[in-house]
C-alpha cells in the first residue's frame, strides 16, 4: 500500500490534513476574538510625569465614562444598537509600559556594584502611549465597518474632549445672572464687578504658575493678572469711594435698611461671641493641665503624661477662632456704621449726577468684559499650543478578526502543519532509507556470492 501511495503523496496528505485541522481549530474550536484597536500618544511636555497640559494629573478614565460613551454612540449612530454600559464592558484602555517595568520598579541602586548592564531603577512611571480596543462581543454584533467606525469616532471625540477637559478656558457665563449688574444699585454693581475681576485675576495667576513663559502677541497670563489688579485698585476702588462717601444710591432708603440689617447681624454676633470668649477663657484658666513625668532607669527614659496637651490645644484653638471672628465682626460693624453715617450725612442729596456714575460703572464693566475677552483669547492660544489635538497623536482603528489571511491563523497553521509535515517527511525518508539499505544488502550479498564463485 505504501508503494502504491508514492512517497510524496504522503506529504501532500499531511499538508491537507494540517490545513483541515487548523481551519477547524481556528473557526470553530478556538476562534480568535474579533476586535478593533487604535492608539494615541501624548506629545506635550509633562506627559511623562503624568501631568495634563493644565498642570492637573492626567487620566484616561473619562474615555469609559457613561456620558462620554453616550455622546460617542450618538455621533457614530449606534445608540439604538448598543448601550454605553455594554460598550464600557467590551472596551479596554491601557497605557503602554516598558516590558521590564516590574524589574525596573523592583530594582534599586546598589552601593557596592556598578554593573552598567543592570536594570535601571524606577520609582514612578507614567505612560504616554495608550491603546484602546473594542471587542465585538455585543448582544447585537457590529459589522467590521461599524466596529472600526465606532472606534475612530471614539478617538476623535476623545481628542475634542481632551482639549476641553485639560484646556485653560473658563465658561464665565456659567456664573449666571448673579453677576448681572443692570438692575442693581450702584454699590451692589461695584461689588459684583470687583468679585468678577478678582476671579479673572485668580485664574490668570493660576495659569501663569503652570506656564510662566507662555505668551501670545506679547500678552502673558501675568499681564492679565496685573490688568485685573489695576482695574480693582483704580477704577473700582474710586467708584467704591465715591459711592460710599457720597452715599450714592438708586434707592438710598433700601440701601440704608440693608446696612442696618447687616449691622444688627454683626452686633448680635459680636455680643454672643464676646460672651462665649469670656466663658472659654474661664474654662482655659480653670483647666488642670497634666504634669509631665520622666522616669529614668538605666539607659532609657520614659515620659508619663495624660492627653491634656491635645485638649488644651483645642481650647486654645477655639479661643483663637473666637477672637478672630470677633475681630472680623468689629471691623464689619465699623465699616457698616461708617456707611450708615455717610448716608445720614448726605440725607439732603448729593451734587453728583447718577447718570455720570452709571456711565462710570458701565465703563468699568466694559473694561472687565474686555479683560475677560483677552483671557479667553489667551486661553484659546494656550489650548492650541498645549492642549490641542496636535498634542495628542492618534492612529486609525485596525480590525482584527477571524480572517484566514490574519497573522494568528497563519501562526496556527504553521503550528499544526509543521509537525505533520515533519512526520510525513520522516516516514518518507525512513522508507527510502530502509529500501536503500535493503538494496545495498542485496548488492553486497551478490558481490560476495560472485567472489565465492570466482
Amino acid at each position: 500500500m505504501l508503494k502504491k501511495l508514492g512517497k510524496w503523496n504522503l506529504l501532500i496528505i499531511a499538508i491537507i490534513l494540517g490545513l483541515i485541522l487548523s481551519l477547524i481549530n481556528f473557526l470553530a474550536v478556538n476562534p480568535s476574538k474579533e476586535y478593533a484597536d487604535a492608539g494615541f500618544v501624548l506629545l506635550y511636555s509633562g506627559a511623562e510625569k503624568g501631568e495634563a497640559p493644565n498642570g492637573q494629573s492626567f487620566s484616561v478614565d473619562v474615555i469609559k465614562s457613561e456620558d462620554f460613551l453616550k455622546e460617542v454612540l450618538d455621533k457614530a449612530g449606534l445608540s439604538d444598537k448598543i448601550t454605553s454600559a455594554e460598550l464600557a464592558e467590551n472596551m479596554t484602555v491601557r497605557g503602554s509600559y516598558p516590558a521590564n517595568i516590574i524589574e525596573q520598579i523592583k530594582s534599586w541602586d546598589s552601593l557596592l556594584t556598578s554593573d552598567p548592564t543592570r536594570v535601571v531603577s524606577l520609582s514612578d512611571y507614567y505612560p504616554t502611549t495608550f491603546n484602546i480596543s473594542i471587542v465585538n462581543e455585543f448582544k447585537n454584533k457590529l459589522s467590521k465597518t461599524q466596529l472600526t467606525g465606532l472606534l475612530n469616532t471614539l478617538v476623535e471625540e476623545y481628542k475634542t474632549k481632551y482639549q476641553k477637559i485639560y484646556g485653560a478656558g473658563v465658561e464665565w457665563d456659567k456664573l449666571g445672572d448673579v453677576f448681572a449688574t443692570e438692575s442693581r444699585d450702584y454699590a451692589q454693581a461695584v461689588d459684583l464687578l470687583s468679585v468678577k475681576c478678582d476671579l479673572v485675576d485668580k485664574h490668570s495667576q493660576a495659569l501663569y504658575e503652570v506656564k510662566q513663559t507662555f505668551e501670545n502677541d506679547g500678552v502673558t497670563f501675568l499681564t492679565l493678572s496685573t490688568r485685573a489688579k489695576s482695574i480693582m485698585s483704580n477704577d473700582l476702588q474710586s467708584l467704591s469711594a465715591m459711592i460710599t462717601l457720597d452715599a450714592l444710591s438708586k434707592d438710598t432708603e433700601a440701601l440704608r435698611q440693608k446696612y442696618v440689617y447687616e449691622d444688627d447681624i454683626q452686633i448680635r454676633k459680636l455680643n454672643a461671641l464676646t460672651k462665649e470668649l469670656e466663658e472659654v477663657e474661664k474654662l482655659i484658666d480653670g483647666y488642670e493641665k497634666d504634669a509631665t513625668l520622666y522616669l529614668g532607669s538605666g539607659d532609657s527614659v520614659i515620659e508619663v503624661k495624660g492627653n491634656s496637651k491635645e485638649t488644651y490645644e483645642k481650647l486654645v484653638d477655639e479661643k483663637t477662632r473666637l477672637s478672630a471672628e470677633l475681630n472680623e465682626a468689629r471691623i464689619a460693624i465699623n465699616d457698616i456704621e461708617s456707611r450708615i453715617a455717610d448716608i445720614d450725612a448726605n440725607a439732603d442729596g448729593t451734587s453728583i449726577d447718577g447718570s455720570v456714575l452709571e456711565k462710570a460703572i458701565a465703563a468699568a464693566s466694559k473694561k472687565i468684559d474686555a479683560l475677560i475677552a483677552d483671557f479667553d483669547a489667551l486661553a484659546k492660544a494656550y489650548d492650541e499650543e498645549y492642549a490641542s489635538t496636535s498634542s495628542i497623536r492618534s492612529s486609525s482603528a485596525v480590525y482584527h478578526g477571524n480572517r484566514l489571511l490574519s497573522g494568528s491563523f497563519i501562526k496556527a497553521l504553521i503550528k499544526s502543519e509543521a509537525p505533520l509535515c515533519a512526520i510525513a517527511l520522516i516516514v518518507i525518508l525512513a522508507i527510502g532509507l530502509v529500501a536503500e539499505t535493503r538494496k545495498n544488502g542485496k548488492k553486497a550479498r551478490r558481490i560476495a556470492k560472485s567472489r565465492k564463485a570466482a
Binding site: 448673579v178 468679585v195 448680635r268
Partner: protein
C-alpha cells in the same frame, strides 16, 4: 638491479607504491571516505531524518512544557489631593484584597472557565517593597557578614521600612486543593482579571475613604406657597451657608481643582455664593424686615413668637447643661501618680488628666457654641417679632413678590451650579483615582515562535545532523575496520 635482456613471460613485476607492510593495524582514511561515499544515499536520508527530528523535538518540548503566563502589576498606594498633599489619615495602611473585591472582579471578567474566589485568593501574591536605603543597608551588611562573619548582632538593628509600592502577582493555574486538574487562563484573560481586581480595590477605597459627600440642602421648600417671604429667605440662607462651608472646605483641600466642564474652581463658587448672599439675600431680607412685609402678617407673627419661645426654652436647657457640666469639671478629681525613685529618693506626686475629664471640657466648649448661636437667634427673633404684625399695602406686597421671585431664580441658579459641580467633582479622577497609581497588568507570555525556541530548534537540528554525520563516518570506519580484520586473518 639486473638488467633484463629479454622478456620472460613467467616473470612478474611487482610494483610497490607507499605500501605498508601487512599486519601493522592502520586504517586508510581514503578507504573510510570511499566507504562513506558508497553509503551516501542511505546516510543522506538519515541526516535529513535526524535534522528534522532535531528541529521538531525542541519545539515540541517547548510547547508541552510551556507555562501559561503569570501576570503582575505595580500598585503604589497614596491619597493625593490635587496639590500633592497626602492626607495620612485617609491613606490606606496596606494593600490587601478581600473576597468581595475578588468576587466583584470575577463577575466583571469574561473567562472561558469559571474559577472560584478562593482559588484566585490562593494565587494572588502581594509583595511590598523595602525602601531603597534599607535594601542598600542590608546589602552592605551581607557583604560585611561575608567578609568578617562578626556582624550578626548588627543585622538585628536594621528596622525594616517599606515603601507604599507593591508588586501584585496573579499566578496562573487555578486548581482545587489536592486536585491535579488546574484551569489555565490565557494571557488576555489573566491580565483582564488582575486589572479588574485592582480596579475593584480602588472602588472599595473610594467607597470607604473618599470625600464624596455632597453639599447638604434643598431649595424646593423655599418655593412653596406655605412659607412666607422671610421664612423662604431664611431657608435659602441656610442652604447657601451650608454650600459656602462645603465650597470653602473643598477649596482648601483641592485648591487647584478645576471643573472639566466649565473651568471653575471651588473658590469661584464660594465667591459666587458670597456675592449672592450679600447682594440679593441681604437686600431683600432687610427690606422685608424693616417694612414688616409679609403675605400673612398675623400668621407669621404667631410662628415667630412660637419659634422665639422654643429658642428660649432650648437656651435655658443649654445653660442648665453648661452649669451642671461646669460643676462636674470643678469637682472632678484627676488621677495622681506617685513615683518613688530608687536609692532612697523622695516620693513624687503628679496629676494626670483622664480621658473623661478632657471629654467633659470639650463638650463644654460645644455647649458654649450652641449657647452663642441661640443667643443670636433669639435676638434676631425678638427684632422680627417687633417688626411684623402690622398691615402691608398691596403695592409693597407686589414688589416683594417680584423681588422674591428674582432672588429665588438666582438662588436656584447658584444651587444648580454648586450641586452640579459637586456631583462632577465626586466622580472626578481627583477623587476616584486619588488612592493609587498603578500600571496595567504586565504579562510575559512566551510565544511559540520566540527567538529562544527558534534557537533551540536550530541547535537541535544541527545536533541531529552532526549525529547522523558521526554515524555515517562510523559506518565507513567500521567497514574499513572489518576489511582490515579480514585481510589480517
Amino acid at each position: 638491479m639486473e638488467q633484463l635482456d629479454k622478456k620472460d613471460a613467467s616473470q612478474k613485476v611487482e610494483l610497490y607504491v607507499n605500501h605498508q607492510s601487512e599486519g601493522d593495524g592502520e586504517i586508510s582514511l581514503v578507504n573510510v571516505f570511499r566507504n562513506m561515499g558508497a553509503k551516501k544515499k542511505v546516510f543522506l536520508r538519515l541526516i535529513a531524518i535526524l535534522l528534522i527530528v532535531g528541529l521538531i523535538v525542541p519545539l515540541f518540548m517547548a510547547e508541552i512544557s510551556r507555562k501559561d503566563p503569570d501576570t503582575s502589576a505595580v500598585v503604589k498606594l497614596t491619597y493625593e489631593n490635587v496639590d500633592g498633599k497626602t492626607d495620612e489619615e485617609k491613606k490606606p495602611d496596606r494593600l490587601s484584597f478581600s473576597s468581595s473585591v475578588i468576587a466583584a472582579a470575577l463577575d466583571k471578567t469574561k473567562l472561558k472557565d469559571q474559577i472560584s474566589v478562593s482559588r484566585v485568593e490562593a494565587n494572588l501574591k502581594v509583595e511590598q517593597l523595602l525602601t531603597e536605603s534599607v535594601r542598600q543597608r542590608i546589602e552592605v551588611l551581607q557583604e560585611q557578614i561575608k567578609a568578617s562573619g562578626s556582624t550578626v548582632g548588627q543585622a538585628a538593628t536594621i528596622a525594616l521600612e517599606y515603601e507604599d509600592t507593591y508588586i501584585v502577582t496573579l499566578n496562573n493555574g487555578f486548581g482545587e486543593e489536592g486536585s491535579s486538574r488546574k484551569v489555565y487562563l490565557s494571557s488576555s484573560e489573566i491580565s483582564d482579571l488582575l486589572n479588574n481586581i485592582i480596579k475593584e480595590y480602588n472602588n472599595y477605597l473610594y467607597e470607604t475613604k473618599a470625600d464624596y459627600d455632597l453639599p447638604e440642602g434643598d431649595l424646593s421648600d423655599a418655593a412653596t406657597g406655605d412659607l412666607d417671604y422671610l421664612e423662604s429667605l431664611d431657608l435659602i440662607k441656610t442652604v447657601m451657608t451650608a454650600f459656602k462651608k462645603y465650597c470653602d472646605e473643598k477649596a482648601e483641600l483641592y485648591p487647584e481643582y478645576t471643573s472639566p466642564s466649565n473651568g471653575l474652581t471651588f473658590s469661584d463658587l464660594s465667591a459666587v455664593i458670597s456675592s449672592f448672599n450679600d447682594v440679593d439675600l441681604n437686600y431683600l431680607s432687610a427690606t422685608l424686615i424693616s417694612g414688616g412685609i409679609s403675605k400673612t402678617p398675623a400668621d407669621l407673627l404667631n410662628r415667630l413668637q412660637f419659634s422665639l419661645r422654643n429658642a428660649k426654652l432650648e437656651l435655658s436647657k443649654v445653660e442648665g447643661n453648661i452649669a451642671s457640666v461646669q460643676k462636674i469639671i470643678d469637682e472632678y478629681k484627676n488621677e495622681i501618680i506617685s513615683v518613688t525613685g530608687s536609692d532612697d529618693q523622695a516620693k513624687q506626686n503628679a496629676m494626670i488628666t483622664t480621658e473623661y475629664y478632657n471629654d467633659m471640657v470639650l463638650s463644654q466648649v460645644e455647649l458654649y457654641d450652641r449657647q452663642a448661636e441661640l443667643n443670636q437667634t433669639i435676638a434676631d427673633l425678638e427684632k422680627r417679632v417687633v417688626a411684623f404684625g402690622g398691615e402691608v399695602s398691596p403695592e409693597e406686597l407686589a414688589k416683594a413678590d417680584a423681588d422674591f421671585n428674582k432672588v429665588y431664580e438666582n438662588a436656584t441658579e447658584v444651587y444648580e451650579l454648586v450641586t452640579g459641580y459637586a456631583k462632577e467633582f465626586i466622580n472626578s479622577d481627583t477623587i476616584m483615582n486619588g488612592f493609587m497609581n498603578t500600571t496595567s497588568a504586565q504579562t510575559k507570555a512566551e510565544s511559540f515562535f520566540s527567538p529562544s525556541n527558534l534557537k533551540k530548534a536550530v541547535i537541535g537540528g544541527v545536533a541531529g545532523a552532526v549525529i547522523a554525520c558521526c554515524l555515517w563516518f562510523a559506518a565507513g570506519f567500521i567497514d574499513e575496520f572489518r576489511k582490515e580484520g579480514r585481510e589480517n586473518a
